[in-house]
């Protein structure tokens, strides 16, 4: 195997991944990986990109910043991957970004991290990352706008006490300011909280602020615990979650083995940055479902030490799938001797690209985020479906 360029051999293009494959948020890393893996497997079976297979060099960071930094160093300096791909989380990515700047002479870019935070969208680090998904600002602004529209103006925030939570909190604050409102109440939890943990203190704090809706900025285990305790303590208001939460994992926790599952999920509304995987009329969704079924992708065996049952389909794996699809398109636009230095031009050449979800993707020097749209979903018959009417569902009676 001859190394022609960093991370590229005659037969492979190696992409570096550091994500959560362990801990309470492992579902996010695993599902994102599975979705991407389905598409890369498909491409590799078709002969790869100019005869080179796409290979993922993957490490587990457990959704913790320090391991993420160590993994990235290893990927950049020891493994010499071609680019970084599919990272998970704001606290992890925000620590990795300065490393990309430090090694900017190596032209290592981070592609499509699973976070909607601002640091990889703005100076001084925005030039080292490319995003596909809409931002948390867009998600929180959409949620706030819709709540305010149906006259639910007293909005409280439940958030993870870290950069991710702060990013979402800032989004809610900014969106409320646009309506002349401010955050009604706030409560936090520590990253890594499990579903078995209690969120009663947080619920009591928010209850005291008499909110008309709560926006949660967290991971599925803590957000599910909050939704459960909110219902149990009589906080009966819409509870919104951002796309990062991992909707299927959240739903699983709130329904499996719970006597009160319907009331736990009745007032949930989750924003998504990809369309529903139930919309089979959408070409990319159809393609995704077929490939997930055909290849049944599994997470790297050596990284998954704890029990995890993958989902047949999920919003997170669909996002991973779309990330991989666009990544392949970018790699195809490189010449036969792919160099990292060509990557930026290849990305900027993506103009009105049809990813198959009804929204054109474009990139440019001032546009480093491909998609802008936010979708809203609620639980119906034990699954998340698109929310059609906010007023009917959450309007004040």
């Amino acid at each position: 195997m001859t190394l022609t360029s960093s991370g590229v051999t005659d037969t492979e293009i190696i992409l570096g991944v550091s994500a959560a494959f362990s801990g309470p948020s492992r579902g996010l890393g695993i599902e994102l990986y599975r979705g991407a893996s389905a598409y890369f497997t498909h491409i590799n079976q078709q002969g790869g990109i100019s005869g080179r297979k796409v290979v993922l060099k993957t490490y587990d960071d457990g959704y913790q910043p320090d391991p993420s930094v160590k993994n990235t160093l290893k990927l950049m300096l020891e493994d010499e991957v071609f680019l970084l791909f599919g990272y998970v989380g704001t606290p992890t990515v925000t620590r990795v970004l300065p490393m990309l700047k430090k090694f900017q002479d190596r032209n290592i870019f981070l592609f499509f991290p699973f976070t909607g935070a601002q640091p990889q969208r703005e100076p001084p680090y925005g030039d080292f990352a490319f995003n596909l998904r809409a931002s948390y600002r867009q998600e929180t602004a959409g949620l706030v706008d819709n709540f305010v529209r149906i006259n639910r103006k007293r909005i409280a925030v439940f958030y993870q006490a870290d950069a991710y939570g702060r990013s979402g909190w800032a989004g809610v604050r900014s969106a409320l300011k646009q309506h002349g409102e401010q955050i009604a109440g706030e409560a936090t939890y520590r990253r890594g909280e499990k579903f078995t943990g209690s969120m009663r203190k947080q619920v009591e704090i928010l209850k005291a602020s008499d909110p008309e809706a709560v926006i949660c900025i967290g991971a599925y285990a803590a957000c599910a615990a909050f939704a459960r305790d909110a219902v149990d303590l009589g906080l009966r208001v819409p509870i919104a979650n951002l796309s990062f939460v991992g909707s299927e994992n959240l739903l699983k926790l709130l329904t499996e083995g719970q006597d009160n599952s319907e009331s736990y999920t009745q007032l949930l509304v989750n924003s998504q940055v990809v369309p529903s995987y139930e919309e089979t009329s959408t070409p990319a969704v159809k393609e995704y479902r077929e490939m997930m079924q055909q290849y049944a992708p599994q997470p790297p065996e050596e990284l998954v030490k704890e029990d995890y049952t993958p989902f047949a389909q999920s919003f997170v794996s669909l996002e991973g799938f779309l990330n991989a699809k666009l990544m392949v398109e970018i790699l195809r636009r490189l010449d036969d001797d792919p160099q990292r230095s060509q990557l930026e031009d290849a990305v900027f050449s993506i103009r009105d690209f049809d990813l198959g979800i009804g929204e054109q993707v474009s990139f440019g020097p001032d546009r480093r985020q491909g998609l802008q749209r936010v979708y809203y979903t609620v639980v119906e018959n034990g699954r998340f479906v698109t929310l059609d009417n906010w007023e009917d569902r959450f309007g004040k009676k």
């Binding site: 925000t94 601002q118 640091p119 006490a161 950069a163 409560a187 936090t188 939890y189 520590r190 203190k201």
Partner: protein, 238 residues
């Protein structure tokens, strides 16, 4: 014997002296360590608050609050720093590390305070909080809370180590002094016994050993010997 009593008094005196030295040294040590470490922790917190304040300017003016939160999260990993919060120029909380929420006592307090204050936060413990203005206060204030319980524990450990050392020195010093006193007391006891024996006109078995010593005891023994011998010859002459 009188010599025994004299040295018992000396031993007691040594013990009292060493005890006094140890107690006063320990008290001084406790005071010094406590004062210095407390000052050091407070200064560290002030420095951390100032570092965050200086680093925050660019973030507050140009970047997202997630970057600010990421910054303070790194500092709160330092031992004894228990919480950090940043308020803007209007007093609004921009970033903090509290879980499950900002304590009421902090929420309702003056957000521009920068002097060191002691706080008791229900359910969290006792803290010393210091503040540092961001851009001379026009961009906000950084507040850093130190766990006084943890600091007290660290100070106690430092003092404990020092007092432990002093106690070891006391015990070793005391026994060394006893040994040295005995070193002087035993020959003096022998000398006393010799002097009494000579006075009674007895010849002891250890006379030669005592008379052959090349120190003050030997000299005194020789003196007693000559005096008693002189008396003996005077008595035989008469």
């Amino acid at each position: 014997m009188k010599i025994k009593k004299l040295f018992q008094k000396t031993r007691f005196g040594i013990f009292a002296l060493f005890g006094m030295i140890s107690l006063s040294t320990s008290a001084l040590c406790i005071y010094t360590v406590d004062t210095h470490l407390s000052e050091e922790y407070e200064n560290n917190s002030k420095n951390i608050a100032k570092t965050i304040a200086d680093s925050s300017v660019d973030i507050l003016l140009n970047r997202d609050l997630a970057a600010l939160q990421s910054l303070i999260d790194q500092f709160v990993e330092i031992q004894s720093i228990k919480y950090i919060y940043i308020t803007d120029e209007s007093g609004e909380f921009l970033a903090h590390t509290f879980v499950p929420g900002i304590p009421e006592v902090i929420r309702t307090d003056d957000p521009f305070k920068t002097e060191a204050i002691e706080r008791n936060l229900p359910g969290m413990g006792d803290f010393v909080e210091v503040g540092s203005p961001i851009l001379a206060g026009i961009a906000g204030t950084v507040h850093v809370g130190m766990d006084t319980g943890l600091i007290a524990l660290k100070i106690q450990r430092a003092i404990g180590r020092q007092v432990y050392l002093i106690c070891i020195i006391l015990v070793v010093g005391f026994f060394a002094a006893i040994w040295l006193v005995n070193l002087a007391a035993n020959p003096l006891g022998d000398l006393l016994a010799y002097a009494v024996g000579r006075a009674r006109g007895e010849d002891g078995a250890s006379d030669d050993k005592l008379l052959s010593r090349d120190d003050e005891v030997g000299h005194l023994a020789n003196l007693f010997f000559y005096v008693s011998e002189g008396k003996k010859s005077e008595q035989s002459d008469t």
